[in-house]
Each structure stands twice: as C-alpha cells, then as structure tokens.
Symmetry: C2
C-alpha cells in the first residue's frame, strides 16, 4: 500500500520539521535542480548514492556531459552560458534516461520522459511569462462517435471572458509525433507567446485549438503497429466532423475559412498539409513546421492542391513552411519545396538554424502568429 | 543541439515508416506500458538492454516487484488483479526511480517523477471519464504584488459558459506538499469526480479553485531550508488578498462565506485548517484530508477557533476531517480530534482504510463534494 511512500514521506517530514525515523537513511539532501543563474549558466543536480555514472543530456550540448558526485551523493554539472531559450533535458543514470525528479516542468510525451529548463537571460523573451494580460488555457473534452471522448486544449486571448460579443479567428495547432495535446502550451508556450505578441500589438487576438493530434496513440495495444495512413484518415474524420463543430459551438469564433488557420510540427505538420491542402473550405492559412513527409507520398497527400494550382493559389492567403538547416527532414522538405515551385504553387519558406526541436517550434509559431489573419 | 534526439527521431522514423540508419541500434521494440486488462491485471513494461535489475514500485503492492527481461530487452511484470482505482507507480532501474517513458499520464510534483495507471474494472468509478457533460479546467494566472505571477487551475461546472447569468459556490482545494496546482486534476481527478457527481444529481454545481499552494517551492534556491511557518504566512496573504479577489472578479461566484468552502490534502490540509479556522468570514465549510499538523502547533494554528468554540460552532456548516487508518499522520490527527472534543468544537470525522495516498484523496473529495453547499 505504501511501497513508494518513502519519497513522499521524506518530503512531508521535512516540511513538518519532524524526524523520519523509518526513512532517515533515505532522506536526500536539500538542493535545487535546475538552478539557472543570471549569467545564463545552469547547475543541474541529481541525487543518487548508488549510481556509478550520471550524465546530463540536453539539446544545448552535442554530447551528454559527465556529472560529478559530492560526499552527500549529489551529482552536479554546470552548463553554459547558454543561449536564452527553453530546452528539454534528462539525466542518463547508468545508461537509463531519467527526468529531473526536482523539476515539475516536464515534457508531455508518449515516448519519453524529459524535463524543461528555461534560461531567460537579462531581458524577457517572447515565450517568457511577463506581467501582461493573460489569456486562458482551457482543458476540454469533446465527443467523437468513432473515437470516444477526446481531449483538447483551447487558448482564448486576454479579455475573451469580459467582452461577450467579440468573435475571434481560430488557429488549429497540431503537435508532433508522440507529443500530446499539452505539448504546445507546456513546451511550445503557445499561450505565453500569444499573450506577449498581443500585448505588443504584433498579433491579432485569436483562439488557438490544440487537440490530441492522433486517432490513437502511436503504439496502441490493438494495433501492434503504427498505422500512419490509417491514423491520418481517422484523425481527419475527427478533426472535420467532431473537433471543428465542437469549437464553433462552444466558442465565439469567426467560422469561415479566412478566419481559420492550421499549423503543426513534425507529424502534425504532415497532418496540417494533408488536411489544409485537400480541403479548400477548411482554412486559408496553412503552416508546416518541419512537416513530416515522405517523397513517395507527395502526390497522394497533396492531390487536391496539385490538381488545380491556380485555384490553390487563389484561395490561400498563406502557405508557409519552416525548417531548420540541421533538421533530419531538411532534405525531403527541400524536395517538397522544389516540387511546389515546379507546380507553381505559391508558398513562403523560412529556413532557420537548428534542428527538429521545440526551440524552433517556438520561433516558427512566433513568426507565423504575426502574419495570421492580416490583410 | 541534438544530443537527446535519438529517442525522438526513432519515433518519428517509426511513424514515417522510414529507416533510421543512424539510430538503428537504439530503436526500441514496439510495446505498450502499462497495459490494463479487463480482469484488472496490468502488464508493466520497460525497455533497457543494459540494466542489471528492474523493479516495479506501486502503491498496490507493499514491496517493489521484480521484473524479468525478454530477448529484446523489454522488462515486464504482471500485477493484480488490483482493486479498481488510479495508482501512482514508477520503475526502479538499478536503484534509480524512473517514471514510465511510455506513459504520458504523469504525477505533477516538485519532488519526484511518477506515472499513473488507471484500473477501471467492469463498471466506471466516480473518477472515470464518462459520457456525461464535462466542465472546463482552465489554467489561469493571477498577480500577487509580493510573489509575482501565480498559476491557478479553475474548474467550472458543465454549462457554466452557456448560462451567463448563473452564479456558483466555490470550493478552494489545496494540494499536498511537493504537489503542484495540477495535482488535484491530474492525480485527484477533481474535475471528473465533479462532472460525474453533478450528472448523477449528487453534488451541487460548483467552481473549484486549485492554486499553487505554496508561497515558494518547498526547496527554494534563496532559502536552502523549508520555512514552513513563513510559507504559511506568505501564502495566507496571497490567498486572501490576491487569489480570492481574482476569482471573484473573473468568475460568476456567490461571494459570501456560506458559498465558500476550503479543503486540502496533507500540507494543504494543514493550510486549510489554519486559513479556515482563523478567518471567520472566509468559509463556512472546512475539510481536512489527512491534514498535516504538529501537536506543538495545535494552539497556535487554531487560535481563533479555540478562543470561541461557541462562535465557531455557530458559523461553520461543516468541519470535516478524513484520514486513513494506515496514514503516518493517523496518530497526530487522532490527538487533534481528541482536542476538538475537549474544546467542544463540532466536527465530522471520516476514518478510511489505507494510508497517506491520492486514492484516499479521491475518496475524501467524493465524500465531501456531496455535502457542500447543501442545507
């Protein structure tokens, strides 16, 4: 009944300032991790008396960094100074990946456990929580006849609740493969980025709808395989028949294609292009963030747009593709962009530094949020 | 830049059905964890080729269970049949605690990383997501002059957005030590429990306000110590001066003490009693769930209530204390209940099985939610 209670009790005893006779030997020392310092260096710490080797893996350094143990069993390493951003990281303890037990900022994902460190620097970034009016991030459920009760996270801009007449445009924002409906807010800071851009007058107030972007988890019990095309078909039905009606019935939205945008990262970028390019009435704004794609699927997944480029160009107000130079999808996305040129389909490209990361996701969202729903 | 990318890329490659030449050796086999079966047994799985020993720690079995490795490096163990509930669990990999990498249901906490498994059984429980009208769980920020921008999670009942005239009573619900503002929804399922109780006509529709229940994290950089009393003083200011005004300005609430309840678990239970018993105008409904307390602090922390028991009895509609027989706080809470009897302060007690767990938190919330705001 209380098998893993020592960890909890240890903390409660510490809080109550009572002694923990049963658990005295397991009481870890008091320490913070990560500790971000004003010079943009960070101390990471991990407690283990028994580990033989602990390393820190981040998306800042190319290789895991060795950590050293003090006499109390606290392993630590100093990183940086690092470029201000939010980075995923984890410890590697004798070969096993472990999220930071002292950090409640975690990376919502179905395939791994990671923690997040925010390195802010001397001036706030666009994803830094600032003293500006904040929108609301609502966790809702909607109903799909085929898939059951489905989670969705909905950002409404500052003032949405007060001005009960105003209607807003909607950005549908899809996460990457193995991410969840929480990843765009918790890792991508979509809500904070929009709060700040709206406060600065750089983005139009908009609603952002972040559904769970798969019909079923990537590894589902019933399948035993990944069924990517089948997932796309099932998710399309859910998106068009269940999600959009839920949003338009429950939020004050401008319900036409010129006031609908769709964007997504990685696997969700592939979904974005597939949904957006094949459904002319869906959205006039389509943005792929390092969109997942395969060359042999170009024709199939773009069939409607490719069949009538002139009509596609006429109806789309923005067709935007961003990718990092170090992204492992850079090559296939270049092939895709080349094909768009051949087909004479208008598009904007944004080639950034960096790889297939959520640091780039924040950059891409920041970029497109300033373009959406503007003449 | 891409130090921990292999885990991500592996999954993306799997999804895109492309080969991962660089990472071929690290591609884990396809498997699900946890796999809950219809007979309430559960298979837990963890992938590691290098670990020497992997165990499963749950709050079901008293001791960690040994797991065995197959030829692909997947460790597994079958647990149960278990009593239907939601249980925290983690793996112990060569002595290191690890949340389940294949499970995005995690336990929001500042002191450890755990995963959650829901064992539902043949009929839904009160915390099971069902096809009933759902309320909204909103992540908001409010401003404290002393503490800065503060997170709070607010549940509004089904229909709140539609009926723009109705006003609701409010339950302020505090988490335990090292928990966060998300723990009551993600582990305690407060929103789902209320959705179900409201659908069954067993609870009055209410708003539930779940703030981050500390002035500062339990282990804060600036302190190096735990400062429990100082935390209580700072949190009290924030609660009374910032949180309640934010709620009453931003939600349609009935803003009087008979329509305010306060409840909390463990450290948050101690805060609940301290706030509720010392502020006669705050709330007529006070509920402690295994409240954290020290015998030497009884007089100080209950000063106002103890000074005038008759007035306390007159003003309170419910003073409720729940605790499990196996809770490590059972003794001190019994001493406290004895003192309440001596002081002739009216109260209800609820002695359950089990220990200092979130299984009991759900039970206690389910119990008191059916009493609140009723004649």
């Amino acid at each position: 009944m209380i098998a893993n209670l020592p960890r909890t009790i240890t903390f409660i005893c510490l809080t109550l300032s009572v002694s923990c006779p049963l658990y005295a030997q397991s009481v870890p020392p008091v320490f913070t991790s990560p500790e971000v310092r004003s010079d943009n260096t960070v101390i990471f710490r991990f407690f283990s008396k028994s580990a033989r080797e602990v390393k820190l893996s981040t998306q800042i350094e190319k290789s895991p960094m060795a950590m050293t143990k003090d006499s109390l069993g606290v392993w630590s390493v100093v990183l940086g100074p690092a470029k201000p951003d939010i980075y995923p990281y984890h410890f590697i303890v004798d070969g096993t990946s472990v999220a930071d037990p002292r950090n409640s900022a975690t990376f919502p994902n179905e395939g791994f456990q990671s923690s997040l460190v925010e390195i802010t620097g001397s001036s706030p970034l666009l994803h830094t929580l600032q003293d500006v009016p904040h929108g609301t991030v609502a966790y809702r459920y909607y109903r799909s006849p085929e898939l059951g009760t489905r989670p969705v996270v909905v950002y409404t801009p500052p003032g949405y609740e007060q001005d009960t007449k105003a209607k807003f445009p909607v950005l549908y924002l899809l996460h990457g493969t193995t991410d969840t409906e929480e990843t765009w807010t918790k890792v991508g800071r979509a809500n904070i980025i929009l709060d700040n851009l709206i406060a600065q007058g750089k983005a139009k107030p908009m609603i952002i709808v972040m559904p769970y972007g798969r019909a079923f988890p990537i590894v589902s019990k019933s399948s035993g395989s990944l069924r990517n095309w089948e997932n796309l078909q099932e998710f399309k039905k859910d998106f068009l028949n269940d999600l959009i009606p839920f949003v338009e019935q429950n939020y004050r939205v401008k319900a036409d294609k010129d006031n609908r945008a769709i964007a997504g990262f990685s696997g969700g970028g592939g979904e974005t292009l597939y949904l957006g390019l094949n459904h002319p009435d869906l959205a006039s704004w389509i943005c792929g963030f390092a969109p997942g794609m395969l060359k042999e699927e170009f024709e199939r997944n773009n069939a409607v747009a490719f069949a009538d480029p002139a009509q596609t160009n006429k109806r789309l107000k923005l067709f935007w593709i961003g990718v990092g130079k170090d992204d492992f999808l850079f090559g296939v996305i270049q092939d895709y962009i080349e094909l768009l040129k051949q087909k004479e389909i208008k598009h904007e490209t944004f080639i950034s530094d960096g790889g297939h990361t959520w640091m780039n996701c924040k950059l891409y969202l920041t970029t497109i949020a300033q373009k959406l729903f503007k003449p």
